[in-house]
Assembly symmetry: C7
Homo-oligomer: 74 residues x 7
């Protein structure tokens, strides 16, 4: 079996919907269209979530990797 690496998840999620959890508890859901080695991420058709509820649509958003806590394909 080939060894898996965490960044495989990022690559496999390109152009798919993901939920991103940030420090402080804010979450974004959207289509991941770009990432880099610092885990900077770009979502399109993104929504900001608070307690699982949509707070607002934000269109395209760049999330700074330093603030990312978790990334979950949905």
């Amino acid at each position: 079996m080939a060894e898996k690496r965490p960044f495989d998840i990022l690559n496999g999620s390109l152009n798919n919907t993901v939920i991103i959890g940030l420090k402080g508890g804010v979450e974004f859901r959207g289509t991941m269209v770009a990432y880099d080695v610092h885990m900077n991420l770009v979502l399109e058709k993104a929504e900001q979530l608070v307690n699982g509820e949509v707070k607002r649509g934000v269109g395209t958003v760049l999330l700074r990797g330093d603030s990312v806590v978790f990334i979950s394909p949905s």
Copy 2:
């Protein structure tokens, strides 16, 4: 299809309106006129937002990249 990178969003947003979210929940909206590799950013005609409401106009403002959580073209 050409591969996208997160910093493409920054370059594509030059001279356009963006919303910047900072650690601690403060947000600024304004015209992005400069950025660097640390995500230090300069906005002009900027406003500070609290809970989505304009708190005050601040004219030109330099935001330190270390504090940036998200950047959204609007």
Copy 3:
């Protein structure tokens, strides 16, 4: 006796259930399928826990090592 190193725990936990504690008190439980030297981790069949109670299932999740506080095989 052979000397043990902390990362041995990670290797020994591959494909087993672990509980991960993150900064801010959030916990995830799931099957660890990948990790790297930064302690970035991937869980499958994962659940987010709050105060030990399951808050929601999240399927696959990538946890950023910078946010990890503890890792416990269960």
Copy 4:
């Protein structure tokens, strides 16, 4: 058009009044007389602000770059 860089704002603000926002929400207003590449800054005739109100005069103050969130010429 010449490309702008964030540090141009710092250079252009020398000997002018600026408002500095720090982590934790404290702000200082004063005349910026020095800065370096870490965004360490020196203000003269400085005042500490809380919620936009002057809390106290502090004369000269050195602000450590690591704590700086934003810098706004006023």
Copy 5:
């Protein structure tokens, strides 16, 4: 007298009971079986403590050095 170094405490505590204080106030008590230069630590027969009271047993746990505040042999 030979000069002491902080890491001597870690080496001298191998296979002994220690209490570990983490950022945010959580504590773990257990038998330390491994550590590295980043102060990543592994405890066995570990218990999580809140206000000095046992909250739950966790068996084996890997604590990330970045979160460690203090280590006390007990």
Copy 6:
């Protein structure tokens, strides 16, 4: 006019009274007798201040640069 640098303030404050603001809002006032490039500082005849009131005298104190927010000659 000679260019000023932030560390000139530190050098010029040696053996003078300074107020030091730390992360979390604690302040110390005392005579600065030493500093280094990390902004580690030593005060003598130092007092810890809370809300501008003297909480206690601490004699000599070494302040770790990583915690320093501002330094003001008084």
Copy 7:
């Protein structure tokens, strides 16, 4: 006059009683028997203080330099 450096305070405090302030407001008092360049410190006959009151005796304790805010010989 010889120039003083902050680490001279550490060296001069070996085998003497010190009070250590940590991030989050916790303090320890004890006899400092070791330190290194990261300001990792070891205290013996140590007590943990909360609001200046002894909370508990901890015997020997290793304090991680990253958490240290101030060090005061007493």
